[in-house]
Subunit: 491 residues, 2 copies
């Protein structure tokens, strides 16, 4: 018997930072000992889940008319310079390639921090007439940002995983419909399939993407009270179309600029949300669909050797059968005790565990354990696949409901600046408050909130029609409050 | 009616270079007008197929115990310096990141040309004992090489798609078994699933990967007579283990260095092989499994409006049904003539076409056209899915057989230097010849062949036991010929 016994017991809600920092390493999701600051190694335990999340997202995008492309990782400096505000926004974050072999390059190349300026010069070549529109393309890739703030694996890094979709339309109206579709895609993947509830905001003008007209974004709430932006859509208007000369002939033969949107689901941050929101004090809990191992099979040792043989052969038979049915299965035949194995696979978030001992073999059933509820039940061998599928769905539903409830509980309305300040003392919660404006004239009020509480004005809800009473006042400046703003801590 | 009529008719065998250069652009696989030399844009028509090829390969690797990881795109200079021969091999090809924002970086970072020196410092941390072995990890990514030779899309570029698998074992024996497994994976994916026949060689010592003990590689034959290396495995021995300190305690508690292999299927070059070997004078022919569009549906216009409506609604019904059954389907309702549509989709390599006109609607069948044989037959509506699957398999089988036959015909034995020289006048074919050695002492003979014919000695067959007669002489130096070498033009 190996002595190794893995236990994980960190109170997630109370000590989230410790919980997060330990679980990403102990569950072997990543290794951050790579010798370049801010760059990490994605280990199999996260990569298998990443691949599943990418597959879901790509499927959702493609079903709505997006097609995959892959652009170069490098962008010439001249491209970045074509949209001034955009350059301003990114120039402090760009890595530069200046040499190849022992030669200096004629033009410096940026490692893409985002790919608008790579895509859009090609859009200018590809788009000629209305019949080329809409053009909806995406790529799954990593991007690079020279972050000067402290980096944190899966939340802020110098190279991270994402998807970027770049869409061009013949009118503003169609572009705004895309913003809605992006919200729908976010809802489908994040909420329905991964159980992560979020709020979709229109961001304040001072917090928009550089080069955009408006930014819309999905925030989810992390256990430490910080909002985590997991996807965003930027309505670019004609800004980049003018900078890159992307024009089309409309049905009347008139030359016009395209209207553009870009959508970026932050695959890294989605993983951070997934593990943080669904995990518990014992470690990770993966939704069944994306779990790197969906079912772990653990033999329960028997006293007699003969029975032990039966147990082992039953374990192998079940493992083979489930693998053939397309499940990701691990059979743990190591020399650890069953208890040590339980701890280990629970900590790593495997959603279902099958225990097979002499009693199970004799009875023609298995004991099925659910990681989320930590409950056991007996399942007859012949119903195994069907019951696994059911339990898989039940786990997702339970995780989603738990997360929704928790988000709802964390969402409160405040009526005054004092109330907000008091409420924010715990640095936790999302606060809805009457507010003057998310145009630039509202920034001083947001600034006062930031100074007093550390919290950010994250914007107004998109797609939800809600307005304060006509006589409501901004909780900061006292001017008429035409909107409800949402205020919370944020990464 | 739009006037556009796409025809493609270039004799592939006679004018391969023109055929290749035109088809990759006209079929919209790539765009090489991106404004950094050697970097291209992968358009949807190639990306969808790339995604399917990646999926096949990743599946084949994972079924044999490999797990996915993702390492940083950047590698510090110090890592590259740890294995001298490796650095020598790559330093002329490395792009260097020297700055971030307006700051000079403390250490220069290379864009990975290949990732041995990124992976193996982590392997030194991860591998402790025999129970950590074998360690078999892979990543799907792009790599970067500052090529000074002329670049050619999908064949030689400065950023290209590949997979790299890095495996560590406790003994040379196990490592050599991995070389065999890599050949088996290559066989499964390239030959069985994509219909690309290849020859697996052990490369001459003068042509091995820098830092390896031996290099093994799969070459396929391109229509212009050049061999195209589409995958390679390097047996690294203990070279990198010593450079990076990758040691383990064996079962007896003795500290040992691991034995390593790395395997790299060149996804770009596989695509180049796929389109070049299977295509014909009319354009591309995709195997069914990886085709970006597997079935195109084309309505055949009717004279009466009523019948036209029936045709359209039948086309939509069939398209919906096939999509629901998981096929990639395009319904071409554009205003082009059926003939123009035929040309267009044939040129782009769609393996199956469904034609539906008034006669088909009335008869309750469709006309099914096969791109590879250019033959039509009627298929009753209710048998459509089953027949499509059958035809899909038949297409692959036909493409594979055609390619195999062509490879066999191109493979000849020569008995003298003069015979080789005469045969190579056409710059076409693979020639098997008695040869002295693929150790370094054989290099002068290879050099003479290169000077006289332009051809390369590609090595000896791996996994095939063949030897010349005991008294056979090397066709160049006349020394005893212990081996059969294979000689051909190569990219």
């Amino acid at each position: 018997m190996l002595k190794e016994k893995v236990t994980f017991n960190v109170p997630k809600e109370k000590k989230f930072s410790e919980w997060y920092n330990r679980i990403i390493r102990e569950a072997d999701l990543i290794d951050d000992r790579y010798n370049v600051k801010g760059f990490i190694v994605h280990k199999p335990w996260s990569m298998i889940a990443f691949k599943e999340i990418y597959r879901m997202y790509e499927d959702a995008l493609e079903r709505r008319g997006h097609k995959p492309v892959l652009f170069p990782t490098v962008i010439p400096e001249e491209n970045l310079r074509r949209e001034e505000e955009h350059l301003e926004g990114f120039k402090a974050e760009v890595f530069w390639i200046t040499h190849a072999a022992d030669r200096r390059l004629e033009k410096r190349l940026a490692l893409r921090p985002t790919s608008e300026t790579a895509f859009y010069q090609m859009y200018a070549l590809w788009i000629r007439s209305f019949s080329d529109l809409p053009l909806k393309l995406y790529q799954s890739c990593t991007v690079f940002r020279y972050e000067t703030k402290a980096t944190k694996p899966l939340l802020r890094g110098r190279e991270f995983l994402w998807i970027e979709a770049h869409d061009a339309f013949s009118s503003q109206e169609e572009a705004m419909k895309q913003v809605e579709e992006d919200m729908e895609i976010t809802e489908e993947v994040l909420h329905k399939k991964l159980g992560i509830p979020f709020i979709f905001f229109q961001r304040p003008q001072w917090d928009k993407f550089k080069g955009a007209i408006h930014t819309y974004a999905a925030d989810c709430l992390m256990p430490d009270g910080n909002l985590n932006q997991i996807a965003s859509t930027h309505y670019l208007g004609e800004n980049f179309a003018k900078a890159f000369g992307i024009q089309f002939l409309d049905r009347e033969g008139k030359r016009k600029y395209v209207h553009q949107t870009c959508y970026g689901p932050g695959i890294w941050r989605i993983m951070a949300a997934l593990i943080s929101i669904h995990g518990d004090n014992n470690g990770l809990i993966f939704p069944f669909s994306v779990a790197p191992v969906q079912i772990v099979i653990i033999p329960i040792t028997a006293t007699s050797e003969e029975t032990s043989k039966d147990v082992k052969s039953q374990c192998h038979a079940v493992a083979t059968r489930l693998k053939e049915n397309g499940f990701r299965v691990e059979l743990d035949m190591s020399e650890k005790t069953p208890g040590a194995k339980y701890y280990y696979w629970e900590m790593r978030g495997v959603p279902l565990r099958i225990e097979i001992g002499p009693i199970e073999v004799k009875g023609g059933y298995v004991t099925l354990f659910r990681r989320d509820t930590r409950t056991r039940r007996q399942v007859p061998i012949q119903q195994l696949e069907a019951e696994i599928k059911k339990e898989g769905e039940a786990i997702l539903e339970n995780l989603r409901e738990r997360a929704e409830k928790w988000l709802q509980q964390s969402l409160k309305e405040v009526k005054s600046f004092e109330e907000l300040r008091d409420a924010m003392e715990e640095h936790f919660g999302i606060f809805k408050a009457p507010f003057c404006s998310i145009e630039m004239d509202g920034e001083p009020c947001a600034q006062r909130i930031r100074e007093a509480t550390g919290a950010e004005v994250r914007g107004v809800r998109f797609g939800v029609d809600e307005k304060p009473d006509p006589d409501a006042k901004c909780i900061v400046c006292g001017r008429r409050a035409g909107i409800f703003a949402y205020i919370a801590m944020a990464y």
